[in-house]
Symmetry: D2
Subunit: 303 residues, 4 copies
Amino acid sequence: MEYQGILDHIYNTLKDVPERGEVASYIPELHKVDPARFGLHLLTLDGKEYGSGDFDIPFSIQSISKVLSLSKALDFTGPDLWKRVDVEPSGNPFNFLALLELERGIPRNPFINAGALVICDVLLSGFSDPKEDFLNYVRELADDDSIRYDETVVRSEKETGFRNAAAANLLKSFGNMENEVEDVLDFYFHQCSLYMSCRQLARTFYLFANGGKNMKGKSFISASQAKRINAIMLTCGFYDEAGEFAFEVGLPGKSGVGGGIVAVHPGNYCMATWSPGLNERGNSLLGMRALEMFTTRTGLSIF
Amino acid sequence: MEYQGILDHIYNTLKDVPERGEVASYIPELHKVDPARFGLHLLTLDGKEYGSGDFDIPFSIQSISKVLSLSKALDFTGPDLWKRVDVEPSGNPFNFLALLELERGIPRNPFINAGALVICDVLLSGFSDPKEDFLNYVRELADDDSIRYDETVVRSEKETGFRNAAAANLLKSFGNMENEVEDVLDFYFHQCSLYMSCRQLARTFYLFANGGKNMKGKSFISASQAKRINAIMLTCGFYDEAGEFAFEVGLPGKSGVGGGIVAVHPGNYCMATWSPGLNERGNSLLGMRALEMFTTRTGLSIF
Amino acid sequence: MEYQGILDHIYNTLKDVPERGEVASYIPELHKVDPARFGLHLLTLDGKEYGSGDFDIPFSIQSISKVLSLSKALDFTGPDLWKRVDVEPSGNPFNFLALLELERGIPRNPFINAGALVICDVLLSGFSDPKEDFLNYVRELADDDSIRYDETVVRSEKETGFRNAAAANLLKSFGNMENEVEDVLDFYFHQCSLYMSCRQLARTFYLFANGGKNMKGKSFISASQAKRINAIMLTCGFYDEAGEFAFEVGLPGKSGVGGGIVAVHPGNYCMATWSPGLNERGNSLLGMRALEMFTTRTGLSIF
Amino acid sequence: MEYQGILDHIYNTLKDVPERGEVASYIPELHKVDPARFGLHLLTLDGKEYGSGDFDIPFSIQSISKVLSLSKALDFTGPDLWKRVDVEPSGNPFNFLALLELERGIPRNPFINAGALVICDVLLSGFSDPKEDFLNYVRELADDDSIRYDETVVRSEKETGFRNAAAANLLKSFGNMENEVEDVLDFYFHQCSLYMSCRQLARTFYLFANGGKNMKGKSFISASQAKRINAIMLTCGFYDEAGEFAFEVGLPGKSGVGGGIVAVHPGNYCMATWSPGLNERGNSLLGMRALEMFTTRTGLSIF
């Protein structure tokens, strides 16, 4: 199939549409991004790469990072992890703390913020130098030492992250947090501030399409763990729009409020998109459309 | 691959395990079923069939029928259907009416009872002789005129279906029900009482593996609609255990409290299992294990 | 104190204010009432009566009737009643079924609809000819045989009462309803359709100001039961505005969507008001203001 | 009436009952208190005092302090306070954060923890030296300079107060907190650690029985404000047991997990009780019984 042509067609079709959603405003730093940015990058299992638009411009990957921390946490703990966080879709996001209370401090899944905080707690206990070690983990997955945290975003998140602080304190009150609340939040804000391009994201997520092995063939998680993470991405990767994404795109994936989305077709490819404008449910509007066009055009969805 | 051998191995491994869950007790009729029943049936895209155990014994398919009524409703309304029912996973079942209230009468998805009642309302408006027409629809999908409703189960459901009556009245109060509450409930209880074997179920669900066409090649829904229904099965097919099923089995599927499960691997196969004992979340315990063994052994999951 | 003068002053101050709220529209019959109606009636413990405006015009008392059915139910069952219905305020009304689910079919208090349906169920089991017997009970409390049900309102409620039908079915599903759902609803809709004037209401509620004895000195409930019902009126009598009423008026009371309010000052007086316009929370706007003016002017609140 | 005899009778009846509930364990310091402690103190409007048992032993008043901070906050802001906190009962405590989310950061009432934190925020903005100024306010109400904070309890609360920290952060995220989260929590924990005896409590709460004036006749709040606070105590003073307390005792009041209760009969008296054992809903078991015996024996309830 002529992938470069398909990507270029999608890029050209969408790049000038006026309806692009709203750039995230809850963190001042994110709000400064140019809403005209738009990039696509495809990496197939055989290592071929295709890109259109701003696929080499880094941005704040935000919640996309939760898949990477989950991957490392599973490596640390194995299936014991599921005693501390469940794997069920979460329903409405407006009452995220409500669900956490109802379920006595066991977050519904590792991708809602409360679940991601538990995962951070696992990493804090497992790593010796958590922020540095996690960055190295991501760099090794991507085979790219230029990946870094964006400290400006970290500071911006800290000043406004009261809902996350609420969730962390609630987890602590239920005994589902070993480390100090501030340390977990500091790690969490760093993780979310990872600054990467579409190309780097596609490379980093290659292991989920490839049974746990990165592009250099090194194994980071088992094939079974990769399969499980794909299942969680499909059912929980898009907040209150997981069903819609499965329905429209038909791939496991994860989005972030920075406007990035990564999608995985196990055994076939990874694709990353970036457009900062978000739809009402917090997912990149053009990114969703681009991925839907790609799977419709190629027929390469899992359903 | 030697499917018959794999099925027999799974059957022999599980058929005598003492831990089989509890047979559903909420409907007296269901409770009378022999908990020792266990059957598996596989139908591949090329029309080959493989079975082990009680795969030709009919049972009450219960909620599995919701996929079939959804299929017909989509055929009637097209995407307008999604104005009346959403496609997001529902989270906790304990508060199913709570969610319905919060979302002003729009059920979270077509497989929770409230959603299935809206689908029934669509069918009542679309069919001229609803119960007869729906039965004929299922018979045609399966190419099997022996399929029937179990009227004893219908009566049993009517006597105990107060929660469904509550949901139907709530939908009516929000204006999301055109027909009379009693008519919708009567149709719903009939639909749930469909009496089918594993073999019949696999044949009926063949269209979801085959882009909307049944075994005789007749098209009932579009390939795109089949893909969408598969996505909804994956994210919403197992009550509060959708994430767990995606995670353990890795296939779109639907379970019923009669102990049946059907799973679909698009482009590859359909598989139906039956064992009346349910786990704590209402899904067939042996059926889940059998499907998990099958996808692990064959590697044929979508993730 | 010169009560007639105070009542006339309140009446004259409020009777022409343009801001009167909205007449209830959810039952067609209620919507036909003239919004200009306004009446006040005061009955002191020594049997003296004072009235201004439309205090002798009957209207649909709606939920005010719940206090009377509670009174009779307590007489039937004694404190066993509290095993089937709690006495705690209910919080938000939007999720009334949610709370009922959470608490496994035990309504929060006898004045939310679900609680009132349980009370109706008690009366259906206790009376031999429920609708007739209950009407006679109210007539005897008021010493007035002209009180009747408004059958037009009953029919109007039945055609639109789907939320009540939902609540009744949910109670039945939890085993907290002995009688048939339709019979309980029929009784409930009759009870709510009681057609009474402010004067009749004040006379009927006299027993709560007088330790359980009506104006003729006949005892219907014990002094302790009267005290308890007053406490429940104070904490639960005004839907989501119980706190506001306690705060502004400072008396036990009960409102109905027909625009009536009755308030009780134990040991001192009963006062009934009627103005069909409701505020946002479903309580009579002028009625609330009139009662607030009365307790402020006289200093006769319980706080 | 012979109050001393009644108090002694209640004290002697209850002092040796074996069923006394459980001493609060969530703060280590509170758990150290001798469960055999039991005291009663009555202060009538004419200034007469009556006591039985341990009425001069100080204890941690905990949530009882919320009434005093509310009183001062009303003095600072007037009715503007009600834009930041509502006055409705809160229903179930298990989901306290859920309600706060649903209502966009406006706590249901000033006595749930979230509401009390908003009140603390008001005091922090209003006082120049908040902890010192508030202590002086309480001392002046009671006319007793020996009242103090218990710093050991403050430290104990800080180490375990994660649910309060969660609530404070959530309030901050909704913009309903002006000051820093840590400062509000520090003030809140000090307020709750006030160390007072039954006698001191009855004297401090005298103003609510006396139209806003303390025993020395100094006015701290208006008569109308006193009436309002009494109404809030009645509807919201006992967590999920407000209805039960209104029902059993029939007085405005406030309890704390240290085992204290203060009840107010406007225009008549204040009564304080202390017994550290709590019932299942967190209110002093013997204290509830003692107050119920007192109002039953004397007939002096508001209903």
